[in-house]
Amino acid sequence: MPEEGFFGGLNRHFLTAAAWIFTVGGGVAGLLVSGAYAWVAFLCMLVGIGSLTLFAYEQWRLRKQAEQQHASNVQLLENNERLAAEKAELAESKLNAIPADLLLQLEASIRRWSLQDLAAYIGDHIDYVSRMLNLASKATKPIALRSFAKRAGQLYAEAKLSAQAIGDLRDDDPFVLEFKNNAGLVTASAFLRVHQTEAGKEIVWFRVETHSGDEMQHVDALADMQQVPGKGYTVRPACDVKKYSSPDFAKIALMLRALIEEVLSLRG
């Protein structure tokens, strides 16, 4: 309730107070004129007692109202407190439940996939590294990108490669796109996968899977409107072929494959 000022209160009570004053004043004046002085004292006493009674009643009513308001506020606060406590309890129980769920899912995942999938991944990677070693022996220069194109919301990068080198590529082979700036600094720009090869035209299309360079956002946006030249970009295999550059790698690969098959047959 907004606080009422002095003049506000005076204005609100003015008519009532004025009526009282004129009625009582008129009565007193009438009694004085008619010479009934004893009744003047009686009237004053009666009006005083009446006013005090009304004032006391008003105060009692206001106090009762304030008590009711207070009780209602207390109840509201208690309800809010109870709701907040319930929410906190629920959030705590959810927090405790999340790690348990994650652990169960991880456990199920690892138990089911671990050995066979790992063996398959290693086998595929051995094959990939062997082909990338062949590619490196045929394409002595870094693979230079010619252009970027975007179709159906997917960004593609196109490079020229000899038909002989294309023979070593397979669908989905992973590659890294690198950018060389004017200062000669080379940074990784994106992760690519072989999308389409055309040995007759000596063209390789790569699918841009993830961006890792800031400038790629710009290239991606620009490719929405037009084809973008790939000047400054080169493509290299996603494995470090130097690590595997042993003349015996083919033999080692065969040995590793035999080893994997043996482990799988023994471990089921």
Binding site: A97, A108, W205
Partner: protein, 133 residues
């Protein structure tokens, strides 16, 4: 490389290829379903770079006949949570563990309205298919 077309769509996960044993298709072979983009030119030399394959999905041949083959989408592993896990009652999760199951991937096909993974890359009869190299 074997290049063929989609002859019929049996379901969002089963397709009939318009090539069979006579064209060299064998059970277990994987095919990419695609359509060709418009002709793309080199932005600098204006040389034609050909048409880009817009891939729509991959299928594996499960049955081969002389002139056609049936292929299904590759299976994916899905996790089915237990009753208490899905209800969010982590404390009781160990009482009903979820399990992993395999199901063929559903490709967006023409006529279906439920799925749209990429803009207008729905599989249609007549779409091209080639085996993975």
């Amino acid at each position: 490389m074997i290049r063929t077309k989609i002859a019929k769509i049996l379901s969002p996960s089963r397709f009939v290829l318009a090539a069979g044993a006579e064209q060299g298709i064998k059970e277990g072979m994987e095919f990419i379903i695609y359509e060709l983009s418009d002709d793309i030119e080199d932005p600098e030399t204006k040389e034609s770079l050909g048409q880009l394959e817009l891939h729509k999905g991959r299928v594996k041949v499960i049955h081969v006949q002389d002139k056609l083959a049936t292929a299904t989408t590759l299976s994916r592993k899905f996790y089915r949570p237990g009753i208490f896990e899905s209800a969010g009652l982590g404390v009781f999760s160990s009482l009903s563990k979820g399990d992993w199951y395999e199901a063929p991937e559903q490709l967006p096909v023409e006529g279906a309205t439920a799925v749209a993974v990429k803009q207008d890359l729905k599989v249609r009869v007549g779409d091209l298919a080639r085996n993975l190299n």
